[in-house]
């Protein structure tokens, strides 16, 4: 590594062009860009699947998706959105921004970084092509619960391998991010001087290397149960299907914080920038993030209240889950306090940040409702749960990703995006998101089960509203694509620091950020 640095420095500007540049690049900005485009592609693929689901649910009865096919699409929608869209998006932001923000010239392991990205391609191909193999894709839901996942056809094996590859990719990516943050910070940048985005990613990366291997283990057990005669979960051989749920959610609950913590970091940078005030309670933000991460290991049972659990377990998980509201509340109050008496302006990143705070808090409240065991027993596997996690994943993770794109787009492209279209994109997304998902609360309270392609007649009106909203939400994202492409191609020149209230080292390099930055590390005071 050290040997190549000097040779690399001499080779500036002589990088291979065309496809070879992207295949062999070890540059954090190139890889970040590829991550972001990959994520957007998967967002569209997963989004088309969501629209297929909503088209089937537009009216009662089976229209054009057989129940098996419907289940497969629901499963792939979940897997692709979580592992293909949200996580790579945040890894893309991490690649682009962490070295810029900590004053490092690149990620710690360039070659590994390249590999982490390119692993995503076969994994996503495995997932998507499993739709056309005999028996179709895995139709068990993204949680891959046995006994069904032990019985399905080869589409399930492809899903398992895809999960393995995705797991390796994100573990390697996380190791890279942790090493970069711990070892390559500019002199003078102590841990408690790091930008919040870097902090949240450091904690997220630790979560990933702690739980992704557990998930890999769980699906490996599924695989050996399927083909190699073990009986971890197969009841026929003395195994326990509920054990899978415990192992899966030991991964699965930290996973939901993996997809939201970097979003918290982004919001913690965008809100101060457009409030023209430093972040309120930086230290408490760091500790709140760490507390959420630690608590996330002790709440997995709340996904299993109806799976058979002793009362002591139900009470423990109920109280532990409610405890998470405390550090999360600290964060929300800190964001609001940051805005208090600030000189606010409402550019697109700020709009998405405010939308995030408003809608994510709603998702947090419906989460508190679901945390109550007796209520959860009623609402388990209804559309109330679907509404809840889309408020946290779409209005949470996706909105924060949009905020990040608009916030850093001038730095990446050197151009300002079209503010009017950006705001239009926000308001369309905000409106159609709520039209799609708010009504699902009512459907869930009225007892509509999820993961079923048909429904009783009394749910028809809300489902039609939700489906219309979903198509509006999907089409609005084409506007986003248009805004990004026009911003790459041209637009008003962006200053090195286009947002007057923004803080951080990334605004000290020119816009667009040159291919190599911080080759001499800055001194942080």
């Amino acid at each position: 590594m050290e040997a190549t640095v000097s040779g690399h420095a001499a080779a500036h500007g002589q990088r291979p062009s065309g496809l070879r540049r992207w295949l062999t690049t070890t540059n954090h900005k190139d890889i970040g860009t590829m991550y972001l485009w990959f994520s957007f592609t998967m967002f569209i693929v997963g989004g088309i699947m969501a629209l297929l689901i909503r088209a089937e649910l537009f009216e009662p009865g089976i229209q054009f998706l057989e129940p098996e096919r419907y289940n497969q699409i629901v499963t792939l929608h979940g897997l692709i959105m979580v592992f293909g869209a949200i996580m790579p998006a945040f890894v893309g932001f991490a690649n682009w921004m962490i070295p810029l923000q900590i004053g490092a010239s690149d990620m710690a392991f360039g070659r590994l970084n390249n590999w982490s990205f390119w692993l995503l391609i076969p994994a996503s191909l495995l997932l998507v092509t499993s739709l056309v193999v005999p028996g179709g894709a895995a139709g068990v839901g993204w949680t891959l619960y046995p006994p069904l996942s032990i019985q399905m056809g080869m589409g399930m094996d492809m899903t398992i391998f895809a999960v393995h590859i995705l797991g390796i990719s994100s573990i390697l990516g996380s190791i890279n991010i942790i090493t970069t943050i711990l070892n390559l910070r500019a002199p003078g940048m102590t841990l408690m001087k790091m930008p919040m985005f870097v902090w949240t990613w450091l904690i997220t990366a630790f979560l990933i290397i702690a739980v992704m291997p557990v998930f890999a283990g769980a699906v490996t057990m599924l695989l050996t149960d399927r083909h190699f005669g073990t009986s971890f979960f197969s009841a026929a051989g003395g195994g326990d299907p509920v054990l899978y749920q415990h192992v899966f959610w030991f991964f699965g609950h930290p996973e939901v914080y993996i997809v939201i913590l970097p979003g918290f970091g982004i919001i913690s940078q965008v809100v101060p920038a457009f409030s023209r005030k430093p972040l309120f309670g930086y230290t408490s933000m760091v500790y709140a993030t760490a507390s959420i991460a630690i608590l996330s290991f002790f709440v997995w049972g709340h996904h299993m209240f109806t799976s058979g659990m002793p009362v002591a377990g139900q009470l423990f998980y109920m109280y532990a889950t409610m405890l998470i509201a405390v550090p999360t509340g600290v964060k929300v109050f800190n964001w609001i306090a940051t805005m208090w008496r600030g000189a606010l302006s409402f550019e697109t990143p700020m709009l998405f940040a405010l939308g995030f705070i408003f809608l994510f808090t709603m998702g947090g409240f419906s989460g508190l409702v679901l945390a109550m065991t007796p209520v959860d027993v009623q609402l388990h596997n209804t559309y109330y749960v679907v509404a809840h996690f889309h408020y946290t994943m779409v209005a949470g993770a996706l909105f924060s990703a949009f905020a990040a794109v608009y916030y850093w787009l001038p730095k990446w492209t050197g151009h300002m995006y079209n503010e009017r279209l950006g705001k239009t994109h926000f308001w369309l997304t905000m409106f159609f998101f709520n039209m799609t998902f708010f009504v699902q609360h009512f459907l869930g309270l009225a007892g509509m089960p999820r993961r079923v392609p048909d429904y009783a007649l009394q749910f028809a009106d809300f489902n039609m509203i939700s489906s219309i909203g979903a198509f509006g939400l999907g089409l609005s994202q084409l506007l986003f694509l248009y805004v990004v492409i026009t911003c790459i191609k041209g637009g008003p020149k962006a200053a090195a620091k286009p947002w007057d209230g923004a803080e951080g080292l990334e605004w000290e390099v020119p816009s667009p950020a040159p291919y190599h930055t911080w080759e001499t590390q800055p001194q942080v005071k």
């Binding site: 942790i178 090493t179 291997p213 998930f215 283990g217 415990h246 002793p310």
Partner: protein, 186 residues
């Protein structure tokens, strides 16, 4: 400018990779760990301590239920096996009655309940009762019959004693064939 000693990236990589490998193993270790955890704490006996608790029982009140029995012009001896019971309103209780047919042929009768005080009838819910159907008792037979009942928790506060009285009446056309047919509930 002096360069501060750079921490060894490779060392960090190895540590983190080792940690990931350990966590992969931990996933497998969870399989026996769950069994051990459950058997140590006894938490896996789902349902054993989940006996249904009747929250409708008013433990603050005790109602004295007295039993009385009569026969109207029948060759039967009919008596309650307990003179009275102390019950909590809302609790399910059972009382036993005994009937002896002193005649040397089968006799069919129907028990009619009455309550004292009369308004207690509204609050006295019989879940199962021999008075719900005709009873045919063979010659010389002795039969024990239960009444399962709940005193409604909304029983007015001034009623602390309820008398439940049954009177058996002979059923007209007292034949064996007819006796087997169920009659409507009283």
């Amino acid at each position: 400018m002096s360069v501060p000693p750079r921490p060894n990236n490779r060392k960090t990589l190895i540590k983190l990779a080792l940690f990931s490998a350990l966590m992969f193993g931990f996933g497998y270790a969870l399989v026996p760990l769950y069994s051990v955890f459950c058997s140590v704490t006894g938490l896996n006996r789902v349902g054993s301590n989940d006996a249904p608790l009747n929250t409708q029982v008013d433990l603050s009140r005790v109602v004295d239920v007295e039993f009385d029995s009569n026969v109207h012009d029948m060759p039967w001896k009919f008596r309650p096996l307990q003179a009275h019971m102390l019950v909590h309103p809302g609790a399910v209780s059972q009382a036993m009655f005994e009937v002896v047919n002193k005649k040397n042929e089968a006799v069919t009768g129907q028990a009619i309940p009455s309550y004292g005080p009369r308004e207690a009838a509204l609050y006295f819910h019989k879940i199962s009762c021999f008075c719900f159907s005709k009873q045919t008792v063979a010659a010389g037979q002795t039969r024990r019959m239960p009444v399962v009942f709940v005193v409604d928790p909304s029983l007015p506060k001034d009623i602390n004693t309820i008398t439940l009285s049954y009177t058996f009446f002979a059923v007209e056309g007292n034949t064996r064939a007819e006796a087997d047919k169920p009659s409507s509930r009283s």
